[in-house]
Amino acid sequence: MTWIRKNIIMIVGLLVLFYMFIPVFVVIALSFNEPKSRLTYTFDKFTFDNWLHPCSGAEAMCPSVMVSLKIGLLSTLGATILGTLMAYALMRYRFRGKGVANVLLFLPMASPEVVMGSSLLTLFVSASFPLGFWTILIAHIMFCLSFVVVTVKARLAGMDPRLEQAAMDLYANEWQTFRRITLPLLAPGIASAALLSFSLSFDDFIVTNFNSGSTVTFPMFVWGSAQRGIPPQVNVIGAAVFLIALAIVVLGQIIGARKRKALAA
């Protein structure tokens, strides 16, 4: 009894963590489901078929996953580059207009997606810009950018600025210092910013829905099929993305721990 009282916060915390995983367990379970009819979303019969043939049975799904992957990778690339440059400028220089830049970066994070998506739609419509792949990409880079800046800034804040000063004292110019000292130290921060960007882009529905025209991303495919009945293969993609992302994060943790050990030794 005293043990429970002593550890009550940890127990409650772990229960909350379990609650957060409940839908993930359901998604994984349903990825092995063979439903009796298209309209049921309950577990009927166990099967490996969905994992062995994820593209059969739901013809439009795999192309939509490809679209999401392409947009995810391109928007991650764009947002990570633009965001890292911005974070570096904001943390390592003093200049007029910094406050304005910070507000400009904060606003997209404080706007509901439905406002961002709809306002961008009015821009594209009034400029007669055709909706599709490119408008989705533009929108994704836009809303990923602020999150990249926040993540990279946090890493820069934790870095010892004396390392960069030392390089400069040894006659490295700004570019050499950035390339040889800052960038390698910044790499973990950039990597987590990229991972965050990719998951934001791959998962986005609301902004995409406003600006997609007839292009169908994976979340849009899921939304569309929610009305007609969800094929179990959709859960295979969900479960696979979950496992891959988890593997990347765990691997990153292990590499980070190894490096710290190597440095300490």
């Binding site: 916060i9 940890m10 915390g13 909350v16 963590l17 609650y19 957060m20 995983f21 839908p23 993930v24 359901v26 998604v27 979303y41 309950t42 633009l82 965001g83 440059l85 911005m86 400028a89 904001l90 390592r92 220089y93 200049f95 207009g97 830049a101 400009l104 994070m109 404080a110 706007s111 439905v114 406002v115 961002m116 709809s118 306002s119 961008l120 009015t122 009034s126 533009i138 929108a139 880079i141 836009m142 950018l145 602020s146 700004e174 998951s199 529905f205 609301i206 829905n209 406003f210 979340p219 899921v222 929610a226 993609i237 969900g238 993305v241 979950f242 992302a245 994060v249 765990v250 943790q253």
Partner: protein, 283 residues
């Protein structure tokens, strides 16, 4: 590093321009669209005549949905705070060497698609699910009572979906709390709960403010939970209305007015909240 004054501007320019063109300009466009003559259409084009009446029409027709959105979002934010606080506290102050692993586990569920997790809740809370039958058997839920398609389900979905936005800022500010301060409170004969209320809670206030904002803002504009977990009546949120007005009815001026009001309401709420939270010392 002061020799080249233009360097920071050069580094900022691409990203800042991107945000200026694809975030700020659209806001002005939205404002302009909300003043178009509503008699136009996408095909025939719109006439810009400063039709302020769009706002009156939008508000008089859709104020219940506005009210509902903010109510649902507020309840979900409070629930998320109550749920996330013990978790953040446990990870920040009790986990020791397990801290990093637990943090990964907090983020991990959110690698599964938002839509798929919400659909998973429809399976858990559905009328024929074992969870609902269980609640009926122990008479928490009346015979034939349902959870899916009720406001309760929508609030539950909102609470669940934005939990990491609450947990991570709470964790960040709790991690900075010096555990010796808690010991000091105990040494001075404060009961554990008093120590928490007088020492830890005030110190974690920046996290509480950030977490509640990061939960409330997306929750009030969300329409996925209302669409998938809600019913036909009593659960429609303002996001659903805006989405349908733009994409199904093509009523751009009304929809833009609604969108603009939502943005303005959030800016006002957030500004006054931050101001209050900043000045009243929060005890």
């Amino acid at each position: 590093m002061t020799s080249k004054k233009w360097v920071p501007y050069l580094l900022l320019a691409p990203g800042a321009l991107w945000l200026a063109i694809f975030f700020l300009t659209p806001m002005f466009n939205l404002g302009a669209t909300s003043l178009y003559d509503p008699s136009g259409s996408l095909e025939s084009g719109y006439v810009m005549n400063g039709h302020v009446g769009n706002y009156a029409d939008a508000l008089s027709e859709y104020w219940p949905q506005f009210l509902r959105s903010f109510t649902f979002a507020a309840i979900a934010t409070v629930l998320a705070l109550v749920i996330a606080y013990p978790l953040a506290y446990a990870i920040a102050l009790k986990a020791g060497k397990w801290k990093n692993i637990l943090l990964v586990l907090v983020i991990a569920p959110f690698f599964t698609s938002f839509l798929l997790r919400t659909l998973a809740w429809t399976a858990i809370l559905g009328d024929n699910s074992s969870f609902v039958h269980f609640l009926q058997n122990i008479h928490i839920l009346p015979e034939g009572g349902r959870i899916l398609a009720t406001p309760f389900a929508v609030v539950m979905g909102l609470t669940y979906n934005f939990l990491p936005f609450m947990t991570l800022p709470l964790f960040t500010s709790l991690e900075k709390v010096d555990s010796r301060l808690i010991e000091a409170a105990g040494d001075l004969y404060s009961k554990p709960f008093t120590g928490f209320r007088r020492v830890v809670l005030p110190l974690s206030m920046p996290g509480v403010v950030a977490g509640t904002l990061l939960t409330f803002i997306p929750a009030s504009g969300d329409y996925i939970n209302a669409q998938l977990l809600g019913g036909i009546k009593n659960t429609t949120m303002i996001g659903n209305v805006i989405d349908r007005a733009f994409l199904e009815r093509g009523a751009y001026p009304t929809a833009a007015a609604l969108s603009f009001v939502l943005m303005a309401a959030i800016v006002i709420l957030v500004a006054s909240y931050v101001k209050r939270a900043g000045t009243d010392e929060l005890v």
